[in-house]
C-alpha cells in the first residue's frame, strides 16, 4: 500500500458539550507523571490519559484511527512521548487546524503524519464530520475525503521537508540519506 495514503476511522475530540477541544496540552496527551518511561510500547496505554472525557481513548482506539482535534494541538512541553504514544497505538494521523511548534516538529521528526485541516469548526457544527466516519488522506498532495459522507476535506499537504522525513521514516534515516 502507498505509504502516502492514510485511511481510517475518524475520532473527533469533542468535549461534553459537543465542541471540538482546542489547546490540548501535552500533559493532557501524556501526563508528566509518566515521563520516566522510555519504552514506546509502554506509552500507548497512557495516550490522552489526562484529557477530560477521553481517558479510555487508548483502550478504545484502533490501528489506523485518524485523530481530529481543535487548534493549537500539543501545546506545552517538548516531550516526545506525546507523539510516541500515538505511534505506539498505530494511529494513522492527527489532523488539527494548527499544532504547537514543538509538537509539530516532534511528529515530523518521528515520521508521524500531522496535518492541518481547514474549516473544521463548520464541518463539525454542520454534522459533516463525526467520530466513526471513514476518512482517506493523501499526505503528499493533501487530497482528502470523508468516504462515509462522500465529501471532500480541506487538508494541507506535507511541506517538502516534512514529506522527505516522512518518506525516509524519521529524522535519523533522513539524516543518513543526506549523508
Amino acid at each position: 500500500m502507498d505509504n502516502d495514503i492514510r485511511q481510517g476511522r475518524a475520532v473527533v475530540l469533542l468535549d461534553a458539550k459537543g465542541r471540538i477541544i482546542e489547546d490540548i496540552d501535552t500533559d493532557q496527551i501524556f501526563h508528566n507523571a509518566h515521563l520516566h518511561i522510555t519504552d514506546i510500547a509502554q506509552m500507548g496505554p497512557l495516550a490522552l490519559g489526562n484529557l477530560e472525557g477521553w481517558k479510555d481513548f487508548a483502550k478504545e482506539s484502533r490501528e489506523g484511527d485518524i485523530l481530529i482535534a481543535g487548534r493549537n494541538f500539543g501545546a506545552g512541553s517538548s516531550r516526545q512521548q506525546a507523539v510516541d504514544c500515538f505511534i505506539a497505538l498505530k494511529l494513522g494521523a492527527v489532523l488539527a487546524p494548527s499544532f504547537s511548534a514543538i509538537y509539530f516538529r516532534n511528529a515530523v521528526n518521528s515520521g508521524f503524519p500531522v496535518l492541518k485541516i481547514n474549516v473544521l469548526d463548520a464541518l463539525i457544527a454542520g454534522g459533516r464530520l463525526a467520530t466513526g466516519d471513514t476518512i482517506r488522506i493523501d499526505v503528499r498532495s493533501g487530497r482528502a475525503e470523508n468516504i462515509s459522507r462522500k465529501t471532500v476535506l480541506e487538508v494541507e499537504p506535507m511541506s517538502p521537508v516534512q514529506h522527505d522525513i516522512f518518506a525516509a521514516g524519521d529524522l535519523f534515516k533522513y539524516g543518513k540519506v543526506l549523508g
Binding site: D25, T38, N72, I102, N109, S110, F172
Partner: protein, 400 residues
C-alpha cells in the same frame, strides 16, 4: 529587504536564505538535554549512532533540573544513564545541584546574544531574555543535534508587539506577562517570533525579561525578544507578519485562573478566594529579585496556619544570593519551606503536588488541568503569592 531579530540570528547560523517561511538548516552553538527527555536522547543516540561521538562534546551539555535529586528509582536510573553517556563522550553535566538548566546557561554565559541553543525544555525560549535564540525540542531532534550539530527549522514570521503606557507601580513583570497572555492569547503571536517594544518592555530588568520571555510558550509563540537598547536591532525595513499594540497603561496585578495561563483576571476579581498552598519559584519567577520581593512582604509576618508556602530558587547561585542577603532567613522565619534549586513545583518533580480540592497560588507558568496534581492552580507574581500566603486567601500586599 531588511531582517527581523530572528532572521538575523538564524542567518548568522545558516548557509541558506533565512527569510520568514523558509525551511533552512541551522548550526547550533549549544545542544542540551535535561533529565526528562535526556534518557530518551541517549537511547535514540545509541540506537542510531552506536558508540560514535557527538559532533562536538564541548558544545553538548546535560542539565538536570526536574527531579533533583532523584525522588524515585526510575528517575535515578534515567539520570545515571545520562551521566554514563556524558562520561563516555566527555560531555559536561550540570547535575542535580545546579538548578534550572536555562538559568544556568544564562549564568554560565553558554547562552550568548545572537547564539542558537536547543534543549529538551519547552521553555528554552526563555533565552530570548538575553537575545539568544533558544528552542525546546523533543528527544529525536536533540539526539540528531548532538550527532550533527545542526537542525532544520522553519524561519518564523515576526510580530511586533508595541506596549503603550506605563503599568501601575504595584504591577511587576509577572503581571505584565500574564496580561499579555490574556491579550495575545494563543493566536496573536502563534508560531511567531515576538519583538516587544515600548517603555514597559524597555524598562524590564533581566529577571523581568526572563519572566516575560519564559511565557512566550504559553502564548504559542516561538520566542520573544526585547530589542530596544540591546545588542541586536531589527532593520528599519524588516517585514513583520503583524503589528499589535497593547495598552498597559495603569496595569494592576493580574492572576491567571484555571484552566489555562490565558484565562487571566485582575487581582480584584479573585481577591479573597481561600487558598491551601503557595509556590514561589520556577523558570518564570525563580530569580533572587523575585524572592527579595516576596521577602519584603513576608518580613515579620507568618504564613497563615494551615497554608504551606513552597519556595524553590532557580539556581544554586540564586540560593547563595538569598543566603547572603538574608532572604533565606526571612522566608524561613515566615514559615516557608525552602528547598534546593530546580524545576520543583511545576512538573511532578521533587516539590509537592496538589491534592483534589486543593487551591494553590503559584508563580509558575502553567496551570493546565492536572499539571501539578488534582488541585486548582492560580498563577500570579511573587508579591501576590507572598501576600496570599499570609492572608490565607488570594490577596495583594495592600490587603495585609
Amino acid at each position: 529587504m531588511g531582517r527581523t531579530i530572528i532572521e538575523k540570528i538564524i542567518q548568522a547560523h545558516s548557509r541558506d536564505e533565512a527569510a520568514a517561511g523558509r525551511i533552512i538548516w541551522m548550526d547550533l552553538d549549544v545542544r542540551s538535554a535535561r533529565d526528562f527527555g535526556g534518557p530518551n536522547v541517549v537511547k535514540n543516540f545509541e540506537k542510531e549512532y552506536g558508540g560514535a561521538p557527538p559532533a562536538d562534546p564541548a558544545k553538548t551539555f546535560f542539565t538536570f533540573d526536574l527531579c533533583a535529586p532523584a525522588c524515585s528509582l526510575k528517575y535515578a536510573d534515567n539520570q545515571q544513564a545520562c551521566r554514563d553517556f556524558a562520561r563516555k563522550h566527555g560531555i559536561r553535566v550540570y547535575d542535580v545541584d545546579r538548578g534550572v538548566g536555562t538559568h544556568v546557561m544564562i549564568e554560565e554565559e553558554l547562552a550568548k546574544a545572537g547564539g542558537t541553543v536547543v534543549g529538551t525544555d519547552s521553555h528554552m525560549n526563555i533565552l530570548g531574555a538575553v537575545n539568544c535564540f533558544g528552542q525546546g525540542m523533543g528527544d529525536v531532534d536533540i539526539a540528531f543535534a548532538f550527532k550533527t550539530g545542526r537542525t532544520w527549522f522553519e524561519v518564523p514570521e515576526s510580530v511586533k508587539v508595541v506596549l503603550k503606557g506605563r503599568p501601575a507601580a504595584a504591577a511587576g513583570a509577572k503581571d505584565l506577562t500574564l496580561f499579555l497572555c490574556r491579550e495575545l492569547g494563543t493566536k496573536k503571536i502563534a508560531l511567531s517570533s515576538a519583538e516587544f517594544y515600548g517603555e514597559a518592555a524597555r524598562n524590564l530588568d533581566l529577571p523581568g525579561r526572563i519572566t516575560l520571555c519564559s511565557m512566550i510558550t504559553e502564548m504559542a509563540g516561538i520566542i520573544g525578544f526585547i530589542p530596544e537598547n540591546g545588542p541586536i536591532a531589527a532593520d528599519a525595513d524588516a517585514a513583520y507578519g503583524a503589528v499589535v499594540e497593547v495598552d498597559v497603561g495603569g496595569l494592576t496585578p493580574q492572576v491567571a485562573v484555571p484552566p489555562s495561563p490565558n484565562t487571566v483576571r485582575p487581582l480584584a476579581e479573585v481577591r479573597g478566594l481561600r487558598i491551601d498552598s503557595g509556590f514561589i519559584g520556577s523558570c518564570t519567577n525563580g530569580r533572587t529579585e523575585d524572592f527579595a520581593r516576596a521577602a519584603e512582604i513576608l518580613k515579620g509576618c507568618k504564613v497563615k496556619e494551615g497554608v504551606m508556602l513552597k519556595v524553590v530558587p532557580a539556581t544554586r547561585r540564586v540560593y547563595e544570593e538569598m543566603l547572603e542577603r538574608g532572604i533565606l532567613e526571612t522566608l524561613f522565619q515566615s514559615g516557608a519551606i525552602v528547598v534546593n534549586p530546580g524545576c520543583g513545583g511545576c512538573a511532578e518533580g521533587h516539590v509537592g503536588l496538589t491534592g483534589k480540592g486543593e487551591v494553590q497560588v503559584s508563580t509558575g507558568n502553567r496551570n493546565f488541568p492536572g499539571k501539578q496534581g488534582k488541585g486548582q492552580t492560580y498563577l500570579a507574581g511573587p508579591a501576590v503569592v507572598a501576600a496570599s500566603c499570609v492572608a490565607g486567601a488570594i490577596a495583594g500586599p495592600e490587603d495585609l
